[in-house]
């Protein structure tokens, strides 16, 4: 067995149908070409997911991947990726979480856990080093994530780290999340629903393996330097107020999606801003595993006398706040905490509910109005519908399908205000006021995603005019995606990126120091490009077509007017121009497929049978 420093060099394959497991070697070339996290996950998805697999079928692999940095205690890098075929998009789905689970998973002695098949009953996958056991635990059925994690730990021992789903995952809500470390969520693309489809309530892991480091003393120095930089000027926002700081700023810049993207600012945004919540509801900070930044800011409130404490990130404050017209911090904290407990992605939940509110206001959900009355700003109906979604009850059953499928079912033009791309609900960045981000949202392989690029950064700079489209947006977006692919494969937390003086150079030093490789900056940049192309290849084989790279119709049809009465809009023609510039920057064909020459250049022919499906 190959044993490369920083890695174990093996993947653990689990077959839930047969209750068996086996180790498989991962060639060193593959590790070097895909690193870990979402990159290595994309490689395994191409390899182990059958073409046209049903996302809820036993043949769809649920892949947990760590990275060479996991276990080194380098700040913010104790993370894992979950990669699978998304039940929302039918394309690649991936989600990251910071957690001690990542550290324990790696200590089990493999670099990836690939789960296929399906359990007969609600079960837990118990992993101790290379020993794998599927244990039926029907008593966990429909338990929330806190109770599930606590029960599993009480049963197997406190040393076990647990990743689990809530009732939403069990009920196959297409945007269900996976929770670990008492509420850290791998939220997006429905990874929890895939876990639910396998009747896998939790995985519990405990390991004793160590990975060797090529140059431990140099790594210790790097770790120290980075820890110091991580509490410097590049992370001030995350440490002091957290991501929810975006609310007041985005509101002022008129890019805070409000009432289902009908507006770009919210008249009561201040009430749900970081500045207000910190003075009224602040209940302490927390750090993820081995993190020196500590961006998690807890807020507390009460629900009928019961104290509620939860994290409120910007994306939750947008999706369960301005987007659904909410300006009551009590409702926001309760809704966000409820989603976490039930195992629901807050973004997709809020966007789907916002669609339902507008659709109901337009009189198109009359068959449901006897049981549900939804309106913008109505907090109690928001809380009630979140519970119904997790239970797939009444209107909740329709909304559990996500915005794209719900709007297709209701028809009557309701697709026009269904705010998703490729089936994944939109994050809180108004594309009409952020043109680079508009492009990134349209072309992202996982659908409307703010995390697989940081394209908005250029809109927040002097480099571009955020209101206007331009041809350089293609290059900017492609570079930003490749940068993010390295972040998500090594795996760094996104919030440390501004602490680096030279991200690629410092990342190369870290990788080489751990593995003993001689990777150059050029090679690492190429790796980012390879990873994004491998994701695109997966989507192409799963039926991606040029029209899939698009934004919701509302973005083109409805103009916004700023408070100084400037028009803020985006035409389909202008978006298409930017998309052409993106394909060109990627050296892809005009129809967005990948030429064979690019596949060979990036050594993607190791993805085997899938290559021939791309346009020559």
């Amino acid at each position: 067995m190959f044993k490369r420093k920083g890695y174990h060099g093996v993947a653990m394959l689990v077959d839930l149908d047969a209750g068996t497991s086996k180790l498989e070697n991962i060639p060193e070339t593959i590790l070097r070409q895909y690193i870990g996290g979402t990159g290595l996950g994309a490689y395994f998805l191409n390899k182990y997911c059958k073409v046209n697999a049903d996302p809820f079928g036993p043949e769809n692999p649920l892949i947990f991947v760590t990275s060479p940095l996991v276990g080194t205690k380098i700040t913010t890098s104790s993370k894992f990726a979950i990669v699978t075929k998304s039940p929302l998009t039918g394309f690649i789905g991936d989600s990251l979480a910071s957690s001690y689970l990542a550290v324990e998973l790696k200590a089990c002695g493999f670099d990836a856990l690939i789960i296929r098949g399906k359990c007969d009953e609600i079960s837990v996958l118990k992993i101790e080093d290379h020993k794998i056991k599927v244990i039926k635990m029907s008593e966990l059925a429909l338990k929330d994530v806190t109770e599930t994690e606590n029960t599993v730990k009480n049963t197997f021992g406190k040393q076990y780290k647990v990743a689990c789903i809530g009732p939403a995952g069990e009920n196959l809500v297409r945007f269900a999340s996976v929770s670990s470390d008492g509420g850290r969520q791998a939220g997006r693309t429905g990874v929890g629903a895939v876990m639910g489809s396998k009747r896998l309530k939790a995985i519990a892991v405990k390991g004793s393996h160590k990975t060797e480091i090529y140059d431990p003393s140099k790594l210790a120095q790097i770790r120290l330097d980075l820890a110091k930089k991580s509490v410097g000027t590049g992370t001030e926002k995350y440490r002091t107020l957290g991501t929810i700081s975006n609310v007041s700023v985005f509101n002022r810049l008129e890019i805070l999606p409000t009432n289902n993207f009908q507006f770009a600012s919210h008249k009561n945004a201040d009430a749900i801003s970081a500045e207000t919540l910190h003075s009224q509801n602040y209940a302490g900070n927390a750090h993820c595993a081995n993190c020196t930044i500590g961006c998690q800011h807890f807020m507390s409130t009460n629900d009928s006398g019961k104290s509620i404490k939860g994290r409120v990130e910007y994306e939750s404050a947008f999706a369960l706040g301005s987007l659904v017209g909410i300006s009551d911090p009590n409702v926001l904290i309760r809704a966000s905490s409820l989603c976490d407990q039930l195992g629901l992605d807050t973004i997709s939940t809020g966007v789907t509910v916002a669609w339902a509110i507008e659709t109901m206001e337009r009189g198109l959900l009359s068959e449901y109005t006897s049981d549900h009355t939804l309106s913008f700003g109505d907090g109690e109906s928001l809380i009630a519908i979140i519970k119904c979604i997790s239970q797939r009850k009444g209107l909740g059953n329709l909304l559990a399908e996500g915005t794209m499928r719900a709007s297709r079912k209701i028809g009557n033009r309701s697709e026009e205000w269904a705010m998703h791309v490729k089936g994944l609900e939109m994050p809180g960045y108004e594309p009409r006021g952020l043109k680079t981000m508009a492009l990134a949202l349209a072309v992202s392989t996982r659908g409307a995603c703010h995390n697989r690029s940081s394209a908005y950064e250029s809109d927040f700079s002097e480099k571009v005019d955020r209101y206007k489209v331009s041809e350089d947006r293609g290059r900017i977006t492609a570079q930003s995606e490749d940068f993010s692919a390295i972040l998500d494969s090594m795996i760094w937390c996104k919030f440390i990126r501004k602490a680096f003086n030279n991200f690629y150079q410092e990342s190369v030093e870290v990788l080489n120091c751990i593995t003993g490789w001689d990777i150059t900056v050029e090679e690492l940049i190429k790796t980012g490009e390879r990873i994004n192309n491998s994701k695109k290849l997966f989507n192409i084989r799963e039926g991606w077509q040029r029209p899939d790279d698009i934004l919701p119709k509302r973005i083109f049809q409805d103009k916004l007017h700023t408070n100084t009465n400037e028009e803020m809009n985006l035409s389909e023609h202008d978006l298409n121009k930017m998309i052409e510039s993106y394909y060109s920057a990627r050296e892809w064909n005009k129809d967005g497929t990948i030429p064979h020459s690019k596949i060979l250049e990036l050594n993607l022919d190791n993805l085997g049978a899938k290559v021939h499906q791309s346009t020559p």
Partner: protein
């Protein structure tokens, strides 16, 4: 359609306040100063660095965290935007009457 839900904001006060600039503070800057907005009056055309010096005089708590120690620019943690429209890093830029100078975190992620 308006970008503001339900009600519109007051009109831009460019004509009313021709000799003053409003500084709008967000995040940590707002918490340190204890206020959202600060109006600064001036006699002559003012560069951004001059404005920051005046702001430092009014709110010395901002120095070192929001405003650099030399008081001529912002620290790396913060960024400046003019009127919600344009990001500016050149502190020699001149502000005009009625301008709104927004100061918020340079970390845009979330």
């Amino acid at each position: 359609m308006n970008t503001q839900s339900n009600e519109s904001k007051p009109a831009n006060n460019r004509l009313d306040n021709y000799d003053s600039v409003t500084i709008e503070l967000f995040g940590t800057a707002r918490l340190l100063a204890g206020k959202n907005k600060i109006s600064i009056t001036y006699d002559n055309p003012t560069h951004l660095w001059e404005l920051l010096r005046k702001l430092a005089d009014i709110e010395p708590k901002l120095v070192g965290i929001v405003i650099s120690n030399d008081r001529n620019s912002l620290t790396k943690s913060f960024i400046l935007n003019l009127n919600g429209d344009r990001f500016v890093t050149d502190m020699n830029e001149v502000v005009v009457s009625g301008d709104n100078v927004l100061i918020f975190s340079s970390q845009s992620g979330g």
